[in-house]
Amino acid sequence: MHADQQLKESLREVGDLKAALDEHAIVAITDPQGKITYVNDKFCAISKYAREELIGQDHRIINSRHHPSTFFKELWSTIGRGRVWHGEIQNRAKDGSEYWVDTTIVPFLDDQGRPRQYVAIRADITERKRAEQKLQATLAEVGDLKRALDEHAIVAITNPQGKITYVNDKFCAISKYAREELIGQDHRIINSGYHPPEFIRELWSTIGRGQTWHGEIRNRAKDGSLYWVDTTIVPFLDEQGRPRQYVAIRADITERKRAEAEILDLNTQLEQRVARRTAELELANKELEAFSYSVSHDLRAPLRTLDGFSQAVIEDHGALLPPEGLRYLNTIRTAAQRMGALIDDLLTFSRLSRQPLTRETIDLTAQVRGVVEELNAAQAGRTVAIEMGDLPMARGDFGLTRQVWMNLLSNAYKYSGRVPHPKVEIGSLVENDEVVYYVRDNGTGFDMRYVGKLFGVFQRLHRVEEFPGTGVGLAIVQRIVHRHGGRVWAQGVVNQGATFFFTLGEGPRA
């Protein structure tokens, strides 16, 4: 009874253990030939095979081909020698899905010591493997990123106390310190003393609050050389929200800073130069103005005296003078009046540079007609044939452009005064998208060898007795045209007339 009883007890105990094991683990039993002889419910559940599909099958039915053949050879040789095998296996379920099992295979031996059967106990570790794989991938990626960052940037890590805990090669290269000289040191080791204490305080207070700081810092290397780094410091916080460490990423911007400083310096120099020149110019203009004013006032008065009293002599005492004496007095008067005219023209010319220029739309046809009428009125009895071509509307200063036409047309009248059929042509043409105005006469013309002298002040190509004039008219034309941003030029042939061209700097025509 005892033996029976004991056997019964043992069997029940084994039954209980088996039930508990089936609840917990994936269990399979295989015969020495590798055929499955038993699987529990959990095995069926995870492999998604029915029991009948498994029994009598080889374990290859769930082989996922993940492991190399040597892996299974090693497994079989271990258990074949009667030793327990432990490892992790990836299997494939019936539906193709893969799962990982932590596996222990215990061989049970017969009386001859040969494996009788193998009991495999497995635990599903698919989730853990998946997490492990993910972690590994993440770690690999982080490693890649770190390598890339080290290639690109100057990196240092600092603890909350401000001690350097990590520097990369680029940090050592730019700071010219060895890694051992930096680790454990304060960042003051590379402080250049350039930034004020408030700057450094603001930096620490920003990252101390857990905020990223970005800025440009000038540092000093071990050899005393200075370098600029564009710096981003990112604080990393612990669970309490306090900075655990600071990662600083920097880029060398020394070259950029040097270029910036150079540009700034050049700009400052340029501004100073401009300011100086402007002041000089203003002073020169003021002096010129004072000079002109005094010329206009003081130089004319003696001329009036010369002319006036010469005439007074002629009027009051003319009867007492021989004809030669009267001629002398008249010569004095002519000279005085000519000098008066020269002064007037010179003043007009100098005023042109100071007078503001106001652009407006001008009906050139009407403007030129007005000038022609004025000139005709002054021509006693002489007729000049006028040929007027198309003149477009123009943009310019009305008074000044009128002066241009007046000077050019009065020249044309004057220098065609000796030909039997004087003719003056006025017109415009378009050249390289620019309107060119011209005045042409069939008069005395000029020698192109002297064309360079035409527009100079007091430059004349004719004697006063031939054609009267002061030699300022064309200089005034040139000054006005230049002030408009235009050009003026001339063509002439002796005794065959002259043509004067000008533009008004209006830009290309639409």
């Binding site: 002109s292 004013y293 206009s296 006032h297 003081d298 004319r300 008065a301 001329l303 009036r304 005296t305 002319d307 006036g308 009293f309 010469s310 005439q311 007074a312 008067r333 005085a336 009046q337 008066g340 007037d344 003043l347 005023r351 007078q355």
Partner: protein, 150 residues
């Protein structure tokens, strides 16, 4: 010039030569016009306001026309004009600038101060004669003024 005689025209001109030519021109065209000449701005103001060397001028009537140069010793023409035109009595006197200056800013400023006319003094004798003659015939004959108070 006599300080107590009434005049029609006061010429303010620092150049004795110019003054002589202007007086000559005026006498030629309007012999009856009584002319007084002063040489600078101070004398001009003293004459008109009866101060300084002209303090004893008393109640002699004011000139009807003043020919005023711009550039004058001591007080210049602009200041004389400003003082004349800001006094209710003397602002009735016609003031014609007779100056060598053609500077736009002089012309603008004198008109702003209320000048009646602005004539640029010509260099040529004939033109000066003509200018003075026309000033006389317009401002002393043709133009109707308010009349200076006595």
């Amino acid at each position: 010039m006599s300080l107590t005689e009434a005049i029609d025209l006061l010429l303010v001109e620092d150049s004795p030569h110019d003054a002589e030519l202007v007086v000559r021109a005026m006498r030629r065209s309007r012999p009856s016009v009584r002319i007084g000449v002063v040489r600078d701005g101070v004398e001009a103001l003293d004459y008109v306001f009866g101060e300084g060397t002209h303090a004893q001028r008393g109640t002699v009537e004011l000139p009807r026309l003043i020919l005023l140069d711009l550039k004058l010793p001591r007080i210049d023409g602009l200041e004389v004009l400003r003082r004349l035109k800001s006094d209710p009595v003397t602002q009735r006197i016609f003031v014609v600038m007779l100056t060598s200056s053609r500077e736009p800013r002089d012309i603008e400023e004198t008109y702003r101060l209320g000048v009646n006319s602005y004539v640029v003094k010509p260099v040529s004798y004939e033109r000066l004669m003509m200018a003075v003659q026309e000033i006389g015939s317009y401002w002393l004959a043709l133009n109707q003024g308010l009349g200076a108070e006595t």
